[in-house]
């Protein structure tokens, strides 16, 4: 079949990102032709600032060189401007008269700088700051001349001013508004930023309107000075005008495509990035989507993803707008702002202001939610705040500690604790994979990475335990500026096989009674034939937890530990942890463990942190024999499932005990035996508030008091220590079982795969849990019943595999 023709006008960041996404989805669907007015391949425009500052070179910022176009069979006309679209004959026509037919057309023409109509704005050495040629011109002017004036103290103007200053010029910044970056900062923040920029040698003239640009020595050639409305004249051999940008819609308007008016004068597109002509799509700064024009790359990349999906004829995914954040890329000056940072009616402000130390933080809270943030001087928690804003997560519970950052929420966590920007290149960021800061920065620059996922793929940093995610996000944010967008699990695609989020997939399984992985993938139009190692375990869990006793469990979609019911070790052997209910054992069990250890020459026997015994280093073929000889049920030490219920001795023996903690623990563990969950689940029961079973850091912690039991939820003792929160107090053992069961069932039904209870709790908030589990008695009973129904007749997986067809998994073949 003849390929369809896709023509792209605009060789910039949004257009080429769309083409990259399209090639991933449908590499052979189109014959692609690209027109770019600039005579280059595609480069990273946002890194023009570090180029001007002398921190990077032009060759560092290339995203796709000419070979890339050739390798992908793309025809690139670099340096050709398209001047006309003939929609009837489906052609574009370039300035040199050449023509190209299209079946589909993508417009990504970006913006043009807005230059106010001041006399003299056509003099030589008056530039806007937009592309490589502007940057080159500024660099060469800086080498020859001394005085520069930047008009406009927004992001772009300040980055230009800083770059020129670093190149040795005397720089004055003229700004119309009362304070700098008035669209991103409040006055206090702006004043502090201005102070630190002044300390670097910049000069500011605020509330200052430019009246004219004057030629050098009266000659009408090169600029020589800037005259303000109040008559003041400032010497200037170079004037950079950074007074805003306008969507570049000339071409589209001439072709009769509908464009907005006034502030929304962009090319109007739908949620599928389509213009009013269904054959013509548009992305980037030139478009107006739901009345908003975006000027930062993170939202443009989201548009690119949606657009590519529709160009590839998959027809899923809609763009519904983005939250934006701002980060100034001036090395050594930390500025961040996001959301509704000005505050206002119905909002409260939490402020920390240390003028001498140069730190200012303002968090704007509305009701239970964080809606805006401004940070100056210390932006370590920027990514975290931005995530809270995007997710609209309830922050009531942590409000008192919100200002002190993510690290203040747990004791041992280091997810956001240190400031990545101030770390040395040799500092280790990812302990699991031994990746240092320098290699991450290098990978981001060399491969043009913008997301956490991309960094994980290229460097492995943060791809294992994830505890360094916060640091990696900080490094991304400081390297690519506002281009970085933190991942939010609520709206993020489950994996590369689909655009649907965890929540949507779960809902579809429930609403449509999907019972198998294949049906789910088919129904939701998965892009890959059998998914991948990320989505299959998640789907398998969603199916069996939504439709217990009905959906088929698929062993091939489980990670090896859950398939073999033992934990794989680095040398390919396995460990075996038999269940010891509540940490209790008997002489007979201990004798059998000793016997097995000798018979199979088990190299290591260890008491685990979960109050039981681990036999490590067992060959896979030996597993069924080991299990048969042990004669104990599986401890599920390998599963996203109930792990242990730790107990202390309690009132049976202890002089302080108030309740029978051992019996309570054993009864909870027996009730939950074989329960699969989004992540592992650990409980502990202590007999008194001395809490020897460490119930404060468990998914559910139960603590005996004179009059009954206190129940705590959402604790975690792992990567990042989280203290469990008090849920309620009950009088009887049966109530402990019912509350615990209902909480776990709610977690099983609503959490995303791989969220521990603490992550789920942070997403929905404690008040919600109290309402569903403590207040709503009927709802609680129903949840508890659903859990008991799911767990009914759960067999011991080891017994099942000692004999029977499942044993085959453990037998090797020979030739």
């Amino acid at each position: 079949m003849k390929k369809q023709k896709l023509v792209v006008v605009g060789n910039g960041m949004a257009g080429m990102r769309t083409v990259e996404e399209l090639l991933k989805l449908a590499p052979d669907l189109y014959e692609i032709t690209v027109f770019g007015a600039e005579p280059h391949g595609n480069y990273n425009r946002i890194l023009l600032s570090p180029v001007l500052a002398g921190e990077m070179t032009l060759s560092d910022i290339v995203l796709n060189d000419l070979d890339w176009y050739r390798d992908h069979g793309i025809t690139l006309y670099a340096g050709k401007t398209v001047t006309k679209i003939d929609r009837i004959r489906r052609k574009v026509i370039a300035a040199d008269g050449s023509e190209e037919d299209y079946d589909r057309l993508l417009l990504a023409t970006g913006s043009t700088p807005f230059i106010p109509p001041i006399p003299g704005n056509d003099l030589a050495n008056v530039v806007a700051y937009r592309d490589i040629s502007d940057t080159e011109m500024m660099i060469s002017a800086a080498a020859q001349h001394h005085h520069a004036v930047v008009i406009g103290a927004g992001l772009l103007g300040l980055e230009a001013a800083n770059g020129l200053r670093l190149r040795g010029m005397e720089v004055s910044v003229v700004h119309l508004a009362e304070w700098i970056m008035e669209r991103q900062l409040d006055k206090t923040a702006a004043d502090m930023l201005q102070m630190s920029l002044e300390a670097r040698g910049l000069r500011f003239l605020l509330s200052a309107a430019t009246e004219a640009l004057l030629g050098k020595d009266g000659a009408y050639q090169r600029v020589g000075a800037v005259r303000l409305k109040d008559g003041v004249e400032i010497a200037a051999d170079l004037v950079v005008v950074a007074t805003g940008i306008r969507p570049n819609t000339q071409l589209a308007e001439a072709a009769g495509l509908h464009c907005g008016l006034g502030r929304n004068r962009g090319l109007v597109v739908s949620d599928t990035m389509q213009t009013y002509d269904p054959r013509i799509y548009a992305v980037g700064e030139c478009v107006s989507h739901r009345g908003t024009i975006y000027g930062l790359v993170a939202p443009l990349f989201e548009q690119a993803k949606v657009c590519a999906n529709h160009l590839a004829n998959f027809g899923i995914g809609r763009y519904s707008g983005s939250a934006m954040s701002t980060k100034l890329k001036v090395t050594g000056v930390d500025v961040f702002s996001a959301g509704e940072f000005m505050g206002g009616q119905d909002c409260e402000e939490i402020v920390l202001h240390d003028r001498v130390g140069g730190v200012y933080k303002k968090l704007v809270v509305s009701g239970e939610k964080l809606i805006g943030a401004v940070l100056i001087g210390d932006t370590a928690d920027a990514a975290w705040y931005f995530r809270l804003i995007k997710d609209a997560a309830p922050v009531g519970e942590m409000r008192a500690r919100l200002m002190f950052g993510e690290s203040s929420l747990g004791d041992a966590g280091h997810a956001g604790g240190s400031n990545a920007a101030s770390m040395a290149d040799s500092a280790e960021i990812c302990g699991c994979n031994g990746v240092c800061k320098g290699s991450i920065v290098k990978a981001i620059r060399e491969h043009g990475l913008f997301t956490l996922d991309e960094v994980r793929k290229h460097t492995k940093a943060s791809s294992s335990c994830g505890s360094c995610t916060g640091l990696v996000e900080q490094i991304l944010a400081s390297t690519v500026g506002g281009a970085y967008k933190p991942a939010s699990r609520a709206d993020k695609a489950l994996c590369a096989c689909t655009d649907y989020s965890h929540g949507t997939v779960r809902q579809a399984i429930r609403d449509n009674k999907l019972l198998s992985i294949a049906d789910t993938q088919h129904f939701l139009e998965w892009r890959t034939p059998n998914g991948c190692a990320t989505c299959r375990p998640a789907l398998n869990y969603y199916l069996i937890s939504t439709w217990p006793h009905e959906a088929m469990d698929d062993p091939q979609s489980r990670f090896i530990n859950e398939r073999a019911h033992a934990n794989i070790q680095k040398d390919g052997t396995f460990s075996v942890v038999p269940r010891m209910w509540g940490g209790l054992t008997t002489p007979d069990e201990l004798r059998r463990i000793a016997h097995v250890a000798e018979k199979y020459q088990v190299p290591t026997l260890k008491v685990t942190g979960g109050q039981r015994i681990d036999l490590l280093g067992i060959r896979k073929e030996d597993l069924p024999g080991v299990w048969a000889d042990l004669g104990m049920p599986s401890g599920h030490a390998y599963g996203k499932s109930i792990r242990t219920v730790k107990t202390c001795v309690g009132t049976e023996h202890c002089r302080f005990g108030t309740q029978q903690s051992m019996a309570m623990g054993v009864s909870l563990e027996k009730m939950l035996f074989g329960m699969w969950s989004p992540h592992k689940v650990k409980l502990a029961v202590s007999g008194c508030p001395r809490n020897c079973a460490e119930a404060g850091i468990k998914d559910i912690g139960v603590i005996g008091v004179d009059s009954g039991w206190e129940i705590y939820v959402g604790g975690n003792g792992g990567i990042k220590t989280e203290v469990a929160l008090f849920l309620c107090k009950v009088a009887s053992d049966e109530e402990v079982r019912e509350i615990s069961g209902a909480f776990l069932q709610l977690y099983r039904e609503e959490a995303y795969y791989l969220d521990r209870t603490v992550h789920y709790l942070q997403r929905v908030g404690l008040d919600y849990l109290k309402q569903r589990i403590v207040e709503d008695t009927a709802g609680r009973r129903a949840l508890y019943q659903r859990l008991l129904y799911a767990l009914q007749d759960t067999p011991d997986p080891w017994t099942e595999r000692i004999s029977g067809p499942a044993r085959r998994e453990f037998e090797a073949l020979s030739v």
Binding site: K460, C532, P555, I568, L813, S814, V815
Partner: protein, 103 residues
Amino acid sequence: MSVWKPVCALEDIPRLGSRVVKTGSCDIALFRTADDRVFAVDDRCPHKGGPLSQGIVAGDRVTCPLHNWLIELDSGRAVAPDQGCVRRHETMVEAGQVLLCRP
């Protein structure tokens, strides 16, 4: 000279699953795809020697259980950005029997 040796019935390998063949000198991992093709590679990940047979199979690829490298079963190559290659072995399915090419 190499010869074709029968190892098992196709049905002995679960779809999207694997079996291990012990040869004396090395372990070989046999994989069966969703559409019943069979691939064989050394049971040693090019990264740190992880047992590929224990990974999750999707399409023509397996994900190593130790650190999630993706290996292409038909070429034995690791999927970029990872780099490495595992030795492949020829296989054939005939009358429901899986045959392995052995030196």
